[in-house]
Symmetry: C4
Subunit: 364 residues, 4 copies
Amino acid sequence: MGAEIGEFLSLDDFERHALAVLPTMPRDYYRSGAWAETTLAENRAAWDRLRIWYRVMRDVALRTSRAELMGRNAAMPLCVAPTALQRMAHPDGELATARAAAGAGVPMILSSLSSTSVEEVRAAATSVDPAARTWMQMYIGRDRGAVRALAQRAHAAGCDALVLTVDTPVWGIRERDIRNHFRVPDGMRIVHLERAGGPSGHEGRGIHEALAWTIDASLTWKDFEWLRDSSPLPVILKGICRAEDAARGVELGAQGILVSNHGGRQLDGAPATVDALPHCVDAVAGRVPVLVDGGVRRGTDVLRALALGAQAVCVGRPVLWGLAAGGEAGVARVLEILAHEFDVTLALAGCQCVSDVTSDLLRP
Amino acid sequence: MGAEIGEFLSLDDFERHALAVLPTMPRDYYRSGAWAETTLAENRAAWDRLRIWYRVMRDVALRTSRAELMGRNAAMPLCVAPTALQRMAHPDGELATARAAAGAGVPMILSSLSSTSVEEVRAAATSVDPAARTWMQMYIGRDRGAVRALAQRAHAAGCDALVLTVDTPVWGIRERDIRNHFRVPDGMRIVHLERAGGPSGHEGRGIHEALAWTIDASLTWKDFEWLRDSSPLPVILKGICRAEDAARGVELGAQGILVSNHGGRQLDGAPATVDALPHCVDAVAGRVPVLVDGGVRRGTDVLRALALGAQAVCVGRPVLWGLAAGGEAGVARVLEILAHEFDVTLALAGCQCVSDVTSDLLRP
Amino acid sequence: MGAEIGEFLSLDDFERHALAVLPTMPRDYYRSGAWAETTLAENRAAWDRLRIWYRVMRDVALRTSRAELMGRNAAMPLCVAPTALQRMAHPDGELATARAAAGAGVPMILSSLSSTSVEEVRAAATSVDPAARTWMQMYIGRDRGAVRALAQRAHAAGCDALVLTVDTPVWGIRERDIRNHFRVPDGMRIVHLERAGGPSGHEGRGIHEALAWTIDASLTWKDFEWLRDSSPLPVILKGICRAEDAARGVELGAQGILVSNHGGRQLDGAPATVDALPHCVDAVAGRVPVLVDGGVRRGTDVLRALALGAQAVCVGRPVLWGLAAGGEAGVARVLEILAHEFDVTLALAGCQCVSDVTSDLLRP
Amino acid sequence: MGAEIGEFLSLDDFERHALAVLPTMPRDYYRSGAWAETTLAENRAAWDRLRIWYRVMRDVALRTSRAELMGRNAAMPLCVAPTALQRMAHPDGELATARAAAGAGVPMILSSLSSTSVEEVRAAATSVDPAARTWMQMYIGRDRGAVRALAQRAHAAGCDALVLTVDTPVWGIRERDIRNHFRVPDGMRIVHLERAGGPSGHEGRGIHEALAWTIDASLTWKDFEWLRDSSPLPVILKGICRAEDAARGVELGAQGILVSNHGGRQLDGAPATVDALPHCVDAVAGRVPVLVDGGVRRGTDVLRALALGAQAVCVGRPVLWGLAAGGEAGVARVLEILAHEFDVTLALAGCQCVSDVTSDLLRP
């Protein structure tokens, strides 16, 4: 299987392969969007509608993809989006992703629904690059003590940011998971969120039942303030589409805004993230970085996001497809393709570096 | 067959099943739109075009779907739209629908072309919930005495509103019915509209011939005034798409406006109801409730309708698909899915209750 | 074959049947558009994009489809568009069409490329209805004497208008005809345009070679003035899409403007006629009637045309499909379907007569 | 094979045939666009969206397609776009194209990646028509001496313009070529760009590796100025989409602007050339001619380009399909079809000559 990786030329190649080889339950868990999956499709389609009005005759020989990313430098303006239970895609799971991301020089956002602990993930990342960065994705569940404890674990393990998901007062309904009676596979655990009740807590009818206790519908901005005060780490808010919510978050101390609709997995009918991005960028007005995820599949999408004012993109499902194809090597190849495509895109658009990617590339 | 109901996750599941199991004549009667069925398709597509700009970090733990509906409280902002001859879908027909609607806490609009009498329907509804609400759909046919008598029957039977269909001066042409030589099935009767001529009056070439005598092309606003004065019940006007007609109706005493194009069964080429809705909402200007039907298939559509100013939606064909799948239990499951989807939609959009559903959710 | 006509419910039914039963050469000649047939498709699609904002509660019991059409009354605002060589569709050809149009109470425009003479056509029409109207379609070919003679023949035969096609300085390229080596079938003649050279003049590679001599690329407005002065009959200009050309024609004495792109058979890429119509209506400003053809397939299209300011529509290909299905009876059924659909459309849109069809039905 | 050419009626016919008969490697090299090929598709689709509001009753009997093209007269406003390695399509390669273009009276732009030398191409062209025009396409590669030498060779061979490609700081990624392990076929050479290293330099993984050394990512406007000063020939800049780049080029001495996105082979996501054209026309403001390539397949496209302000179009892939079908005869037929279609388009649009093609034909 790994032998094929070298012949995959695009993230679409990886997706086709993964959909063919993964067992039904994880495949559908990863691929699904909520309800009729219109937002899932729109996330992708909206990128393709943006035309890139490239420039010519700029010296791009010495170009670089390096970018500031949440206050530090990254190899490119991209990080790995959080996705749950990566061991369903490959036995090495999050460890493989951590090593590949570290090798590619980009941060990894670790899902709090991971199948590997943050400490192991950090060890894997820093074994490749001592400066590797990991951000811990968090839900604020009903047990606030457990939330605070996880934030502290993340800090202690060397994470340099928290990513608080705010689009999940309840779980979105993914019909494929219900049909498949989705459950956490035998021998796998959601290691950060174990309850006294044991593994039976993970079973049930779809992820929204299996994991209902990990979230809390009563969350308000006060809970964000509580988390902000509970950890020295900067907090990025993930799951915002409205300008007013982006502005509110920044005013209350968010250190970053990740424009996201949870990969189309929460509210079907939500706008494509790339359509929401400019509104949030305007509202944030440069006070903190704005990131975006959802449907990013090509290096050209990275440039589009930057031209709309994002500091970086996050990529989720393609990393899972990489894992499915070859563990660490698969993820590394996915990131390598994106890096190469973005490098070529920069060159072809006439940009030496990310600061050359300005809004006029999309609106001449 | 009933065993499958529990596995149906969406109204689309019910539709697929019903189209597979119903005999040709009722299936086509229920599914058809007029002529080329462009309005039928557009009714559905227009909902999908509306993006929901959800809010985050609102406390939605104690949310409720309860809504005022024509002056009283309902479990959610939804009622069952009138559809004819429900015994073609299941032997229990309108009785099953009445029990399921009462169980779900939503009004049922009984078609005057029903295969069960309003008295039996009311008895079924109140046997489940003494407070169950039934609204009587009416045509003003050529025999005004019969119309007045039916209005009085409805009132006596405990209906709390009349729903006057105003988009049917003549019957729309549904080609499938003509091809199928549609007729009222043996052993079934349009109980409220029987004529001296007997069952032969129900036969013919398509519903528009079978039922020509039940309507009257000469109707004007004076006839609405006559009906208004003929019954103590409030009258909702059903089938309006133009702002001026909505305003005229309200000025003449309509207690509600139901924006509808008869499920695409009358004038093919009419606008999608969701496109007509804002015009009517503006014209009515809050004087009476505005309802809407046509293509509602998801809880997200309910929220969209409310965000555009509707007080509630009506759902027609999916109820028939529920009947076909399992009688009362099928309809109950259809309504349960809608209720659950709407509840989740409220939560994911950051709304505690229907009054939080404001227009900025669609137009940020 | 004729037995099936009664079961055809729409013009689309006739089209499907005709495409299945006609021999390749006439089928392709009739169905073809120029080049890639984009205008052919767009002609149809553009009608479907127009939504009809119907009115309710107007007394439409005594409605009528009767309409003034070029100064006289017609049964509906419709006439038969000119199409060539109708005997390729049915042995009775233009005679069948003439009888059916007369029976339906609508004018027939006889193509100058007909396979039957205007005198025979007039005899057939007036045998059904002494008041039947026939308009003679004309090209101004290189032989001006022949043109004048044909205009005189048309007048003598009782035609009450000339329809001068102005979109054909050269023949459009219809690739199907070239592939089929289109020629006038044996035993058939273009009776009005015979040349000294005999039938060999009709052979060749596609209609544009076979008929090159019947047109003249040098035509200017002066030629129209010449024709106008050569005949006492009013002249309608057919094939106009630009406002300035419509205005120029009226200023020079045209008695009617027929907005047409020759059924998509001349310049592929030309605008859909319904998109051109409002521009021409504005330019003509009520001085003479404006007609439109191209893609009319439903009674709703007739109402749309009137709402945009047309006095009537012309229908071409569907008449050929009617001929193919059953000669006169087929054409009669095609016209009957259109009449019935238009009558139902009037009723459902809340119109008593064609003067009730105003622009607000499309733009509320 | 050649026998079929006479039956090909459109450039699409040639494409279908070529895709069926060419071996995989050249077929995919020619047909490919970059990455997901969205710009490749959009190039074509954008032409089709433009409607032609034709004029009627203009005398077009004596019309002509002749056009000024870069200061001299051409048979029509069209030239052959540069495409590499034409011997992959037919053994006669560029010689066949040169003879066909000369025969058709239009310039040929010779690719610097040709499989035949400019001297041989010139000889072939002038053998047909002593006044035949050839323009030499150039990349400025790392070896500036070789570039200057090629410019001088082109001048010496009788070329009358240089066409400098400016959209290729790096090669676009065409995935089909990578999959096919594209390499210059045995027995074929990129004659103008041979390196000391010999044929091994042409092998590798896709054209972007095989030919990396022929381009230079460090190019700036200064390099254009250098080329401009290195040759007495006028220089046309090819590959521009932005108004500012068009204006800059003209200010620095470009004698023509060719709006192009390299046939969708460089930056996937770039705008369709026809959408970029009006911006460049405005910016150039008549100072030098503007040309356009990309998706031109019909004579109507030529008229559209002129109506948007282009002086001419360039056609690339269809010439290769012509070569594949029959060498010189195939190319001649392709050009003949375009010439005939443009002639008919002029007539049907009411234009006597290219100066009659004004912007109101697209925007009435």
